[in-house]
């Protein structure tokens, strides 16, 4: 069902973890649908993504797209990171089954949500970046339990 690359990124996910005092954190998806992605960005004064970590609750494709998305944005400046689409994530994974395309969209949204958080914290505007729709707020999430 999955390509070798997807399986590789699922079994050996890159950049799993958290970043303390991250420059930006974005959480998207919801537990109801079975996918939640959280991305942490460490962005330096030149607006370059120095480090990125992720945590994902979801299927194999959700984990693999998160892993690949973090690989793609690492070392990029925020403008270039903005250009990374779900299509790019899918292509880098040699494709996803049609029912799993939404996972790649979620990965793109998670990056955007983390960038939005960074932009808000620093009072800057990133061209083309809109407020993420599916960003989960701490309080809402707490209600799940």
């Amino acid at each position: 069902m999955y390509t070798e690359k997807v399986m590789d990124h699922f079994q050996n996910p890159r950049n799993v973890g958290e970043i303390e005092d991250a420059s930006g954190v974005g959480t998207v998806g919801n537990a109801k649908c079975g996918d939640i992605m959280r991305i942490y960005l460490d962005i330096d004064e030149n607006q370059v993504i120095q480090d990125v970590k992720f945590k994902t609750f979801g299927c194999g494709a959700a984990v693999a797209t998160s892993s690949m998305a973090t690989e793609l944005v690492k070392g990029k400046n925020i403008q270039d990171a903005m250009q990374i689409t779900n299509k790019a994530v899918m292509e880098a994974l040699d494709g996803l089954p049609p029912v799993k395309v939404h996972c790649s969209l979620l990965a793109e949204e998670a990056i955007h949500a983390a960038l939005w958080d960074y932009a808000e914290k620093h009072g800057i505007k990133i061209e083309g970046l809109e407020k993420p729709k599916s960003d989960i707020h701490e309080e809402e999430e707490a209600e799940e339990y």
Binding site: K32, G34, D35, K55, F57, C59, G60, K100, Y145
Partner: protein, 394 residues
Amino acid sequence: MDKLIYLDNAATTKTAAEVVEAMLPYFTENYGNPSSVYSFAAANKDVISRQRDIIAEALGAKGNEIYFTAGGTEADNWALKATAEAYGSKGKHIITTKIEHHAILHTCEYLEKDGYEVTYLNVDENGIVKLEELREAIRPDTILISIMYANNEIGSIQPIQEIGEIAHEHGILFHTDAVQAFCQVPIDVNACHIDMLSASAHKLNGPKGIGFLYIRTGVKIRSFVHGGAQERKRRAGTENVTGIVGFGKAVERAVSSLEERTAGEKELRDYFISRIEAEIPYCRLNGDRINRLPNNVNFSFRFVEGESLLIMLDMKGICASSGSACTSGSLDPSHVLLAIGLPHEIAHGSLRITLSEETTKEDLDYVVESLKGIVENLRGMSPLYEDFVKKQDK
């Protein structure tokens, strides 16, 4: 992959060697069409009739009440659609439950579009139908109650005898989908007032593609497949002789081993459940602890998602199944897990393990050890677990 531990016996089972052996001559030697006149072929009519008797005996039924179908799904479709058609002039109300197999649920949805009304009964947190709710759901125009004998996902066994008595008191037909229960628990169609019962061979070490619908004598039920006069003109099509022979053999085998086999499975099942509960935190056993199929184990592991779990288990040679959305092809997790009241995120993290007579304690020990590592690993990358731990620390 060297290791293969098959623990998805509710999905299908290995066809037993003696079943295959019994079937083989009917492919290459006794291949005649049972409807033909010459003795070479007509002998197969008696062969089929013997299998019917074997199967009927396992239910306390008569041979001529067993109608072979292409499987459990066809039997379920037939029971519902043909009853609706035959009794539609009496009423258009059907009662079933929220935890039925899709073969029932989707057939009910089809009938709803055709003007029938269906009541879907709730179940309690263990997946058992509430008899009071059933009583209250009965209306003057109720023509059929269809409630599964035992659930395929969480293994809960329904109070079938009580349900049958209620149906009988009200003069309503009672159908039960016994695909998971047949030859796993003793069934008596008379004691339980069952009018129709569906079953399938491949769940009990028989071949795929053969099932039956038991129809009590006197129940008006129309033909579902039109054509020749097979199955007392109620189900046309040349008999699947090899399949029927395999089914008969599988039932013979399963009935003779029922007590010993299920006792062994229960012991292993409970051992496995207790190890998981003791060794993996934040898990929940789904389904009833006592009224449970002997071979069914279903757990939810909080903060992890089922498909991930299945792929990781697959890497270790373990075949299992899950009720997560990703395995159902939709965004919603299993309707059964939602019906027992699980929140979505916990339903997504479910794992079903179904044992066979070949399952050993060593197999299960290996699964527990594997699961411990996998669940820990997946929780390590779960944002839900991260939030949970942070909340605990506060």
